[in-house]
């Protein structure tokens, strides 16, 4: 079998998919990044290799997510793309004709507006993380319920209570207050979903024309309570694609297919990278008053990339596409 790898290294989770040449997803792996992106990518690749039949050929690799450059250098990616483009590409394939993409991940949330199959507008939360996966995670932990059960419990609510949604701090204190007043757990959770949807639409979706078909993806789309709250708020059907939680990786795989069809060959270093020792380190450059934090990546003791300097003194020593800033 021949196919493409898509790797999405997000703040909270790392997603890896294997897609065959016709665009069918064969394997999808979802791991927690836990602050160690390189080791997580290596772990994911080991797992993927185990699951895939032997004799398989990787024709191209794409990386995305906030850790895309690092992952791209580690595996030898053919394309390194931002997550907005990756999500849009994946969605257009899975839901033809999609006009609005709601994506809520661990640390960020975005809205992507497509018209005629082309991204026409997008927005990403800039200064507020209320309503993202991390906050839901944290609240589930505080209430001692597994985050997977969150949506199910919220759906049982008969009359959701009102929770402040502008700020995670306000939301939490409101939740605690309502809980101490004796409101039911399901009503509080449903109220929180409503609040987060309100915050998303006001903060991220402001000024955008939300038209059907609407696709909801990202880790938070697993939460039935959130799906329901979006349905109520928008008055539109919400579609959750089958690979909703790995869409970024699907997009990266698709983009790598596009790149490789142009370049002809892949830069993939092979599954052997799982045994290679990668080491990152940083130092403060004292060349000028900017005092840049320069980060370097070593592969088996050889430095293969540096980034973080404003002037290019350190990063320019390496090939252009391996540069980060």
């Amino acid at each position: 079998m021949k196919g493409y790898l898509g790797i999405d290294v997000g703040s909270v989770s790392t997603k890896i998919v294997f897609m065959d040449e016709s665009g069918v997803i064969h394997e999808a792996i979802y791991l927690r990044t836990q602050g160690i992106p390189i080791a997580t990518v290596q772990k994911g690749l080991t797992e993927l290799k185990k699951r895939l039949p032997s004799g398989l050929k990787v024709r191209g690799v794409g990386t995305t997510g906030s850790g895309r450059y690092l992952a791209g250098i580690v595996v030898g990616a053919d394309t390194v793309k931002n997550e907005i483009t990756a999500h849009a590409v994946a969605s257009s394939l899975q839901v033809p004709g999609v006009q609005t993409i709601i994506e809520i991940g661990g640390q960020d949330s975005k809205i992507i507006i497509l018209r005629n199959g082309v991204v026409s507008d997008f927005a990403m939360n800039t200064v507020c993380a209320a309503g993202t996966g991390s906050f839901l995670d944290q609240q589930a932990a505080r209430l001692n319920i597994p985050v997977e059960k969150f949506g199910e419990i919220a759906l049982r609510s008969q009359s959701p209570v009102r929770i402040a949604g502008r700020c995670a701090v306000f939301a939490e204190s409101d939740m605690i207050h309502k809980q101490q007043m004796g409101c039911g757990l399901s009503d509080i959770l449903a109220g929180l979903c409503d609040a987060l949807v309100r915050n998303y639409l006001n903060n991220v979706g402001k000024g955008k024309e939300i038209l059907a078909p609407v696709v909801f993806q990202g880790g938070v789309a697993a939460n039935a309570g959130m799906i329901n709250a979006f349905k109520k708020a928008l008055g539109l059907a919400i579609q959750v694609p089958p690979y909703f939680d790995v869409m970024g990786a699907v997009g990266a795989a698709l983009l790598s297919r596009e790149t490789v069809s142009r370049t002809g060959s892949s830069r993939f270093k092979g599954f052997g990278v799982t045994d290679t020792e990668f080491k990152t380190g940083s130092f403060e450059c004292s060349g000028c008053s900017n005092l840049c934090e320069v980060v370097q990546l070593a592969e088996d003791g050889n430095i293969i990339a540096r980034w973080g300097d404003r002037c290019g003194k350190w990063s320019n020593a390496f090939a252009e596409q391996e540069k980060i800033s």
Binding site: T85, G207, S289, N290, G312
Partner: protein
């Protein structure tokens, strides 16, 4: 008297020239850096915007180099900046940095108030000399702007990555070190040669992006995480809605010099959307968005510091400009964060969007 002032991009080149021409002892603070920001955040009020914090840091660092007098711009609202000179002075005093403060602001009762302040800085120099000094400073501002504009044009087309930045830095330092109008003329020519020497790939398709927003975050690259440079690296040409010389012409010369873009143009372009002064450059931001859209730019980027009221007003109006003219607009809010990944991700996606849109249009019409 050893005079210092806050940094705002290349403003120091023009101010230093002006003051040194009059024989004033000038202390230029070290360029804004992580250290500047750390000092500013430590002593500044949390809810103030980032420019205040960087100003404070600049002053503290300049104090360490022997500065004892601050020249600072003032104003009278609605933007909070008008009050910053006094606030910063009070904070510095509290933490033991004794400065003398000279605020250049619109006079309260009579124009003589402004003249007295200038007198205070210049001592017994004649008004003729003062005018010559201002002229010299202005010429430097113009020279610096021309270099910047050249850099915006060549960066997306450079064959060797980083070549523009090297040329830009050396051209700038030539202008900075010119100490008389004659020397400046020579420096300008040499700077032009340096900028023209960057090898270009003329065939590369390049997008055009208008950069607009709040003046400080526009002009000070440290505060906008080098947004202009990153747009250039991503293959787009930038034009900025405010240049130093235009600002000087608008605010110091009251628009006397013709042929430069002025705030009047921007404000009249803004009038279908915003007919009111809302503080800072809010009105100009809306107006320049309209002007850029009319001039056929592919996209717009608005930058401003977190909590900036005038720009928040503009931000809420921009979607209307965007729909009416069909021009995508990206808003970037700057604060203490120094991690660039977020900004680069958004810029990259934005440029992807613009490219695909342009391609789509080309296919549709061909």
């Amino acid at each position: 008297m050893r005079v210092t002032f806050p940094h705002m991009g290349n403003l120091y080149i023009c101010l230093k020239a002006m003051l040194q021409y009059l024989g004033v002892d000038v202390v230029v603070p070290p360029p804004s850096s992580k250290k500047t920001l750390t000092l500013g955040v430590k002593y500044g009020p949390e809810f103030a915007c980032m420019p205040l914090k960087l100003n404070l840091g600049n002053f503290i660092e300049a104090y360490g180099l022997g500065a004892d007098t601050i020249i600072m711009a003032g104003g009278c609202g609605p933007c909070r900046f008008g009050y910053y000179a006094q606030i910063e002075y009070a904070i510095l005093k509290d933490i033991g940095y004794e400065f003398q403060l000279i605020v250049i602001e619109p006079p309260e009762r009579h124009i003589s108030e402004l003249f007295n302040k200038i007198r205070h800085i210049t001592g017994n120099r004649s008004w003729w000399q003062v005018i010559q000094a201002i002229r010299f400073g202005y010429q430097k501002a113009r020279a610096v702007d021309e270099i910047e504009m050249a850099a915006f044009k060549i960066r997306p087309r450079e064959l060797v990555f980083g070549a523009t930045d090297i040329a830009y830095r050396s051209a700038l330092s030539l202008i900075d070190s010119a100490s008389s109008p004659n020397e400046l003329d020579r420096a300008k020519k040499r700077a032009g040669v340096i900028m023209a020497g960057v090898v270009l790939d003329e065939s590369r398709p390049v997008l055009k992006i208008g950069l607009t927003g709040e003046i400080f975050t526009l002009l000070e690259p440290y505060s906008n995480l080098d947004v202009e440079r990153h747009i250039g690296y991503l293959g787009a040409e930038v034009d900025r809605s405010i240049y130093l010389s235009e600002w000087v012409n608008d605010h110091l010369f009251l628009g006397m010099l013709k042929g430069l873009r002025s705030r009047k143009d921007a404000c009249s372009a803004a009038s279908p959307y915003l007919r009111h002064f809302v503080g800072g450059h809010g009105q100009e931001t809306v107006g320049s968005a309209v002007n850029y859209a009319r001039a056929g730019f592919d996209g717009l980027v608005q930058v401003f510091p977190f909590t900036c009221m005038p720009e928040i007003v503009a931000e809420s109006i921009l979607p209307e400009v965007s729909t009416e003219y069909g021009i995508p607009i990206l808003t970037l809010i700057m604060d203490e964060h120094t991690g660039k990944t977020g900004i680069i991700t958004r810029l990259e996606a934005f440029i992807d969007l613009l490219e695909r849109k342009k391609e789509f249009r080309r296919h549709a019409f061909s």
